[in-house]
Structures are given as C-alpha cells and as structure tokens.
C-alpha cells in the first residue's frame, strides 16, 4: 500500500494501534486484574475474612456442614447441580453454589458451624474478568474483544517488522533523552522483552472461545455444541429416578477420593436428594498448565464408586493447555505474579504507544485529518487520557465504591458497576475540558490519591483494613491492599516526567497549512 512493506507496516501499526489501543488498554488492565479475581473478590467482601490465627476444621467436617446446608436450602429437582468449594489457594472461604430457576445462588459458610456468613453484595473481581472478555456487553462485546485481539496480534507482528533493531536495542531505554525518544524506547523495550507473553496471551485468548469465534466448524459436526465437552470430559451422571433418598455423608468418601485423584478442591452433587444422586470430587487445575481437573464420582446414596477420569483425550488436553495458558490457574502465586507483572508491562506497552502517537504530532503535526486535524488531534489526546487513566481510575473507583456504599444499600453491587463505568465518562469529559498534559497530571494524581488513601479510608471508617488483615493472617486481602499502595508508588514516578514535559510544551499547537 505504501512504497515498501515496512512503511505499510508502520502505517498499519500506527492506525490500528491507535484506534484499537484505547479498547486494548481497558481489556489488558482488566485482564491483569483478573489474574487475582478471587483475591479481589475476597478483599471486596471483607466480612468473610479468614482468621488464619485459629486452625480450620478438618476438610471432612467442612464437606459435612456444606452438604447439610445444601440439603436444607438447594432445590431437589431433576438436573440440579450443587457445588461445594473448599477454602484453599485463591479461594479463601468455604462456598456452596447452586442454580434455581436460572438464577445463581452463592453462599459463604462458616467452615466450623456451617452457618452462612453475611457478605456485602458485590460482583467483586468477577466483574473485572467479565469486562475483560465481554465489555459487559455479552456476545457483542466478546466479538469486539476478539477483533481487538486479532488487531493486537497484527500490531505485534507489524511492530516486530518496523522495529529493525530488536537485538541491538534489546536493553536500550534512554530515559533522559528527548521526550519522543524516551517514550519510543519504553514502548520498544517493553514490547520486545514481553514479546513471548504478549504473543501467548493474545493468541490463547483468541483460541479459547471456539463456539463464539469459530462456530462454523464446531456446529458442522455437533448439533449440540455441549456434546463437544462430553467427548472430552467423562460424565458419571445417573438417570433421574424421581424417588427421594437419603444421601451418605460425602465427607466420609474423601479418603477414597483422594486416593483416586490425589487431592480434592471442590465437589459437585448432581440430582441431590434423589435416588440417582451422584457426588463428584475434583482435583483442581493448579498442578498443570492444561486447565483440566481430574475427577472421581460416587453414588451419593450408596457411596459406591462409579468411576474416575485421570486421563484425557489428547486434542482436548492440548486445547485446554491453550485455555490454561490464558487463565493462569496453575503454578500458584509465582505464576500469578508473573502474569500480573506481564499484564502491567503490556498495559505500559499500549499506553506508551498511544502517548507516542500524540507526542510525535505535538512536535510535528502531520495534518492527517485535513482542516479538522487540530481538533481531531485534540480529541485523540483526550481519548488517550480517558483510555489509560480512565481505566485505571475506573477500577480504583470501583474499589472505593465497595468501601463507601453502605452495606445494606439497595442494589449496591449495581451501583459499584455504575461508578466504574461512570468514571470513564467523567475522565473523558475532564480530558476534553482541560489541556492534554494538565488532564494527564490531574488524573494521575487522582489515581495516586485513590491508591494511597484507600487503606486510610477503610481504617477511618472502621472497616477491615491493612492492620486487621495482618492481625488475622489474611495474606490475600493484605496482598491486594499492599499491591494497590505499590501501584500508587508506580504512578507517582510518572509525575516528575509529566511536570517536566509540561514546562517544555508550547502553549498553542501550530498546524501545518494543508
């Protein structure tokens, strides 16, 4: 299209990067949060805080009380699924879940007494994960994110093509150089050093949703797409009998289950309370890259072993390895933190790319939009602020809303989400009103204050805070809050750079006449 291949790639990188960069930043920052989805949910429901200073009851006992609660509250009907998740890893509490009339129910139980623990109503970290791949807009959102992922991949490829000095500049970051040079170095170095992560996370994100992104092939051979899962995951479900029956204490099956599959992280009871009831124990997905959980099934009425699955169809295993690589549930906190760092650096890559677009044109306007150029550049500056700082502040305001809204506030979880979405709008309006660099600085300072004052607010308002998390040995909630504080520190490093750029900036942009 241009004179040479690499000029064409530069054009593609610039414009695709700009137009999709805004969306990609929001997708990457929420995806980065999603690594710690359960930790964030736990932090957003501090009433359910763990007290790690007292010892937890035995797992058998926890299964027993959870089962008792489900037998009392969950529906006994055909096709019912009751789920029990044990505390451990990122899941801090004993949880039971079921669906009734299409509505999901989720209750946290006290592992000792089996009494429900009242938690504040929130969508927690799950909202950020949802946003990451649906933009809270369902299927349409997923398709938009999918297209953005294709563009991301093309951005990476075209970026490699136009870089040309990948190995020579492998470690080069001339922080003190001219504004444009230092941003370009930051963009290049973060892209090159994170390239394996970037390629992996983008590609796996595309691959993991065949039903949405590539339905033709799937539907050509499967009338019911769910049967695909059935060809990979063995089911031990029994036909519904329709006769009520007493169930065994599933906790007693635990030794046998552990012998079959090694460890147990959660259990599912199908057709609970019926003569056909089956209990299935799952080993969790943390021990390998592929997101598959070995499982073993027993009759929940007689306790008889029905079968187990510890071997997987090769193709399904390969596919679930791609999924596993994306959702990063393996390798414990080490891998979680590596993904989190990879995510933050990727966000930096996208943000520096967006900033570069405007910095180049601040110096030497290119008149790319004809007579409207000055106004369009102005709009792009504002959208950059709204995409980058708007996303960061939206997440922080979401956290704040969780602490500020009264616990019994009607529809409080909806209001948390509204606060999240509204922040973007406010951020954009602010960026349109203020001069570009001033709005960058204002919003960076706001984010910094939001980070640093959050623990202070929690403490002043008498809510669980850093201190109480520490005292209870609740490392997860403590970690979330410390990470927010550290993120504030990271933001504070941007302020001197912004101030120095502001001083050197001409007050009025001159646009080259057409």
């Amino acid at each position: 299209m241009k004179k040479t291949f690499s000029l064409s790639m530069a054009w593609l990188h610039t414009w695709f990067g700009l137009y999709l960069g805004w969306l990609l930043f929001a997708v990457f920052i929420t995806g980065t949060m999603a690594v710690f989805e359960h930790g964030i949910t736990h932090w957003m429901q501090p009433e359910g805080r763990l007290d790690n200073t007292v010892s937890q009851p035995a797992v058998e006992h926890q299964f027993e009380v959870a089962q008792a609660y489900l037998q009392q509250h969950a529906p006994k009907e055909k096709g019912s699924m009751w789920m029990i998740t044990l505390p451990g890893g990122a899941h801090p509490g004993l949880e039971v879940r079921w669906r009734q009339k299409g509505e999901a129910h989720e209750v946290r139980l006290d592992p000792a007494s089996g009494e429900p623990i009242e938690l504040r109503e929130t969508e927690g970290g799950a909202m950020l994960t949802d946003f990451h791949y649906t933009l809270l807009a369902g299927l349409t959102g997923t398709i938009i994110v999918g297209l953005a992922a294709v563009v991301m991949m093309v951005g990476l490829i075209s970026g490699i093509v136009i870089h040309k000095r990948i190995f020579k500049d492998f470690f080069t970051f001339r922080r003190q150089s001219s504004s444009q040079r230092s941003w370009l170095d930051a963009h290049n170095v973060s892209g090159v050093l994170m390239l394996p992560f970037l390629l992996m996370i983008t590609y796996t994100g595309l691959v993991m949703q065949p039903l949405v992104f590539l339905p033709l092939g799937l539907k050509a051979v499967y009338d019911n797409p769910r049967a695909l899962r059935g060809d990979s995951v063995q089911s031990f479900e029994q036909p519904y009998a329709g006769t009520p029956a007493d169930m065994v204490n599933i906790g007693q099956l635990l030794p046998q289950a552990k012998e079959a599959i090694g460890s147990v992280e959660w259990a599912v009871i199908q057709n609970g309370g019926d003569a056909s009831a089956v209990v299935e124990f799952f080993a969790g997905v943390g021990g390998r890259v592929a997101a598959v959980a070995d499982h073993v099934a027993f009759s929940a009425v007689t306790g008889e072993l029905l079968g187990k699955q510890t071997e997987w169809r090769d193709s399904g295993y390969v596919f679930r390895s791609f999924v596993g690589l994306h959702i990063a549930m393996f390798g414990g906190w080490t891998v979680s933190w590596l993904y989190f760092i990879g995510g933050i650096v990727s966000c930096g890559l996208i943000a520096t790319g967006l900033i570069l677009f405007t910095i180049k044109r601040r110096k030497r306007p290119e008149n790319e939009f004809g007579a409207a150029s000055a106004r369009v550049y102005r709009l792009i500056e504002a959208l950059n602020v709204a995409a980058v700082m708007g996303s960061i502040n939206a997440i922080l305001i979401y956290f704040w809303a969780n602490r500020i809204l009264p616990i019994d506030f009607a529809e409080r979880s909806d209001w948390e989400v509204r606060a999240f979405l509204l922040t973007w709008l406010v951020s954009l309006v602010h960026a349109l009103i203020r001069k570009p660099l001033a709005s960058w600085r204002d919003q960076v300072i706001l984010a910094l204050l939001l980070c640093w004052l959050l623990p202070v607010y929690s403490w002043l308002s008498g809510q669980p805070n850093l201190l109480t998390f520490w005292q209870k040995g609740d490392g997860i909630a403590f970690g979330v809050e410390v990470t927010i504080l550290l993120f504030g520190g990271l933001l504070s490093m941007a302020i001197p750079k912004l101030s120095s750029t502001m001083q050197g900036l001409p007050s009025k942009r001159k646009v080259r006449p057409a």
Binding site: M1, L216, G217, L218, A220, L228, G316, V318, F322
Partner: protein, 90 residues
Amino acid sequence: MKASADISLRVLAAFIGGYLLTALANLAWVLSWPGHRADAVYYGTLFPWLIYFAVMIWAFSARSALKVWAVILAVAGGLLSWVALAWYLK
C-alpha cells in the same frame, strides 16, 4: 481510485475477508478430519487464526486493494468447493 475508497476496501478485506477465510479454513479442516470429531474441532480451532493475521497484514501491504479482494474471493471459492465436497463425502 480515491484514497478513502482504497482504504475502506482494505479495511473490509482485512476484517471481513480475513474472517471469511479463517472461518472457511476452520470448516474445511473440521469436515476433512479423518478421526474423531472432537479432535477435528479442538485441533481445528488452534491454527486458522494464522490466516486471519496473514490476510490482515497482506491487505495493507499489497499494491492494489482490488487484487486483495480478487485473491480473497478466489481462495474463498476454493475453500467453499472443498467444504462442499467434504460435506458431500461425509
């Protein structure tokens, strides 16, 4: 051709043409797979994306936007006949 028409043709080729070939390649793969259908679907979702990236890059580097579309349509035609044949043989 006007520059705006040229760019629009390329954007459409990149996004729609690219998806068309990706989806058809996926379909052709699944229908031609000799083994179990689950293997066909699982393996078939892993690789067609490479076609999407290639088409997108080519759509913006080729000399002529019309040529891009001509090739996309020709390849799509080829894939479609393949799909039809595979469907018929199944």
